[in-house]
Symmetry: none
Subunit: 94 residues, 4 copies
């Protein structure tokens, strides 16, 4: 079902990559790993903030609910915007 060049096996047939391609690939890997590292750090900082709030006596469950509610409000507004666009498009305004 799979042959040697199967994309799920990135090790296969490395000779098919030119030097330039290999260099480009290395750069992509580096960029991705940098971004992922930063994302992981942000996740850790978020945990710290919640921990700090908890240590000061705030109810993290309620705090998370506030964050969730505000995010959902933003989503609702975006959804309303989409519906408006859809409607305008339907009546030929776009």
């Amino acid at each position: 079902m799979y042959d040697a060049d199967d994309a799920t096996n990135p090790v296969a047939a490395p000779q098919a990559l030119t030097s330039a391609s290999k260099e480009k690939l290395r750069q992509f890997v580096a960029r991705i790993e940098t971004l992922e590292t930063e994302k992981t750090e942000l996740a850790e900082q978020l945990k710290e903030v919640y921990g700090e709030a908890k240590s000061l006596g705030f109810d993290t469950k309620a705090l998370r609910a506030v964050i969730r509610l505000r995010k959902q409000d933003a989503n609702d507004r975006a959804e309303a915007e989409m519906m408006l666009d859809l409607y305008l498009e339907a009546v030929g305004e776009i």
Copy 2:
């Protein structure tokens, strides 16, 4: 944005929150939302990088596999390092 009687404020017994507490709470919400915004932006940048790689003809599935394997290798190496430290400590080398 929220006052003490605001029913949308789920934090316990609003009247029990001092002005200082309310201000602190607002700061926590702001910090959390800032961090989450940055995290979302990083996620979008990651999508863009993968998109750029794809547009240059790279197989993103393979690329993701590479990233995954390298992360796992890093974990494995960290784990091996921990085991080594543990053993060294056990034999009094640390």
Copy 3:
């Protein structure tokens, strides 16, 4: 790291299952597959309904938007309920 009984290898060591366990397992598999079959059938029926609407000249994009909006409204109401419960609990009403 993995031994023969490792849970990630469900084929390993079948002799570890008693007859009763094996029978119970077969029943679970049967129940799950029945439910998944029904779920797949519902998905197909949904596709048919959208197709029928489209064939009658309805804009499926708008139709999907309506469905999504109504679902989100329901979610919003559920979320508001949760916030109310959280608030009531906070002020000691529960």
Copy 4:
């Protein structure tokens, strides 16, 4: 793509929707929501079955693997069947 005056497009320009179209639209929404409700219920029942299996000591990860493998086998058999039919037809046996 859509002409605002196109009477055959029930979505465009809501005022252009006849009573019959509106009623039809309501029926589509109702049918879709019913099907989605049933689909959600099946998903919940599946969760319950896995939970019950887990409570009886079965490894749900292994159980899921069994389900996945059996589904794949079914797909493979169906595919083989299709190939066989194709070949039989090609040699005039059907």
